[in-house]
Symmetry: C2
Subunit: 386 residues, 2 copies
């Protein structure tokens, strides 16, 4: 009974501190580029779904669905937003996947967006904390760098993970971003530079941390029949899964394992009938470099505790067996919260199409993205194939 | 290919200014009552979807999906929020409808919630304005009472609608709420009382306006097969539709017609194979009394311009041909923004089950709900049947 769901177009705004653009400007930009890329007419789009965390606090505007339909001139079509903290973008992709599979919609525009630089740094940090357990974490001053510092310190103690390993993730991702025209930081950084950067929450340094970013990403998703009208080479969503964990870090079974990621990546591979060795390219949610190390373990690229070592060994570089974050990841492409999960899918689609000049994984056929919310309370996994 | 979607359980927190309860308390309450009502085990629920507009601003907490899964002890199941301003609740119901229809989920908990009384009135009014076109309306001081005043004044000028008609909507809805144990205002009000209440934005008075409320509502939704395990009398969702209009009121073709409501209610009736005369009970989004009058026209109960007259004629009372807002509506049941669209479906399900003592529409078999966002930029329509 099931309909296959395809991606036929992708679009991005640049990521960065975009002082001269508004939330509506960048969202429209990503949407329009994805329409151009799909070579589809706007009149064929029959719904819009937006991933966004906190436009109400960052910009004073919610109701982004209706806004996008209005600004995009797409008429009276259904439109709304989904929110799952930093996994809001992934939630939007998963929503569109289900809506198309259900037969309610045939061709949807999926947008992820966040404009974070219109408020000051203190307000931005407070707003990001709405994704933590506010009554038990945020309220007591536990910012995200602090929460991830607990994870990193514990990982170092349990498994001998080193500061050099944490730093090497940033070095790799910056090197990848140097070839990504939409990335916020398009330049390599030497490891000494990372290891000497300012301390945020020991052992998390500025260059272990994703930046505050503005940006938007877009996809045109549709059922197989519609896809074949527009392209001979659609990218298919092979599986879409999601899982939850406790909102507060201190309630977890083990703070060095994101159980939601373990559950959702296992079930995604199973549903797609694939093994981890079958995946050619990965986008893993590296809000902090320790997060990429942990997720490398939780999806099965490395054994638990070896996530730091595989980075040093080059296994997750482009050219290695399991290339991770060819886009530059959250670390260097930037992390406009609601846009991130959609941007991950944009990167995988481009990789599978062979359109990633300078950072292409040769012959990539399968890609896997993990988009997490908070410290891993939400995990959304998508496997793409061509 | 299509799976039918049923409602097998409903639950509500009380609606009101709940000073001694937090957002998590009331959300959990609605969820637990809906589980009790369905007599289902929590372990059978395989996803949670939450309708909420702006918990980030009202309470400092987003990421409500993971929070609900965590607080409810429902384990690692997928969970996230949807937002479409005041139509967020309806969007959650529609999302669950599609997720179940797609085959990705079998039994879902749908929650709508908002805790609005934890901030002061000025901040609450500003936060509500995130649902308007902030750059063109909210920023210039056009609050929702002001925007609806434009509609009301124009409706009076075009069609001779009177202050008495506006007031009679409030009288009717308060009379209904007197029999609703969850309503914020469980008492009748005489028409003199409404017509003499304080002026907010001429001609909109305090008692033409829905209140600021705290509250949550819940549903257990599932596919037909699962439903039949738990009840012999499931309530089915016969159709679910959505449409958009311009975000800003001044961009509309005609501010006295909500085109999104016209489109979505027409297509909902068509998909369900029904005519307006077949519907026995209605929940229409009466954020202001002029809104109920306008929607009465836009769904086809009254001709355009006659929406005020039918209220005076008693057509929309319980016992009339087209009973509207038997729950008391947003006006008297209360309007905790994200909860409203779910609470509408709770009321219709209870009506179709015959569980509305004191306000029961005898023999009701079909119900229709319209949940709108902003001044009608989003409209979501559900038709329920037994």
């Amino acid at each position: 009974m099931s309909r296959r769901v395809a991606i036929i177009g992708v679009g991005m705004s640049e990521f960065g501190e975009l002082w001269d653009k508004s939330l509506r400007d960048i969202t429209l930009e990503a949407g329009m580029y994805s329409i151009f890329d799909a070579e589809i007419s706007g009149s064929e789009i029959d719904a819009i779904i937006i991933g966004n965390m906190s436009a109400g606090r960052f910009t004073g505007q919610e109701h982004l669905g209706a806004l996008a339909a209005d600004m995009g001139g797409l008429g009276n079509i259904p439109a709304y937003s989904v929110e799952a903290a930093c996994a809001s973008g992934g939630a939007a992709v998963r929503h569109a996947y289900m809506a198309i599979k259900s037969g309610e919609h045939d061709a949807m525009m999926v947008l992820g967006c966040e404009k974070m630089s219109d408020v000051n740094q203190t307000e931005a940090m407070k707003t990001i904390s709405v994704a933590s357990d506010w009554e038990w974490e945020g309220l007591f001053g536990a910012t995200f760098p602090a929460l991830y510092a607990f994870i990193a310190r514990r990982h170092m103690m349990e498994y001998g993970t080193t500061e050099e390993m944490l730093a090497q993730v940033a070095v790799k991702n910056h090197a990848n971003a140097a070839h990504n025209p939409w990335a916020q930081f398009q330049r390599p950084v030497p490891i000494e530079f990372v290891m000497g950067s300012g301390m945020l929450a020991d052992p998390i340094r500025v260059l272990h941390s994703s930046p505050i970013s503005d940006g938007a990403a877009g996809l045109i998703m549709c059922d197989e029949k519609t896809a074949k009208k527009y392209t001979d080479t659609p990218i298919y969503i092979e599986s879409s899964t999601q899982a939850s964990d406790t909102l507060a870090l201190h309630d977890r079974r083990d703070i060095c394992t994101a159980d939601a990621v373990v559950h959702s990546s296992k079930s995604a591979l199973k549903k797609a009938g694939l093994k981890i060795e079958d995946i050619d390219v990965f986008e893993l949610h590296d809000s902090f470099t320790i997060s990429e190390i942990m997720l490398t373990e939780d999806v099965g690229i490395a054994e638990k505790g070896k996530g730091g070592q595989v980075v040093l060994d080059g296994l997750t570089e482009i050219g290695g067996q399991f290339p991770v974050n060819t886009s530059g990841g959250l670390k260097a492409r930037g992390h406009p919260i609601g846009a991130t999960g959609v941007a991950q899918i944009v990167e995988l689609a481009l990789q599978l199409r062979g359109d990633c000049e300078g950072r292409q994984v040769e012959g990539a056929e399968k890609g896997l993205a993990v988009n997490i919310g908070g410290t891993g309370a939400t995990s959304i996994v998508h496997i793409l194939g061509r």
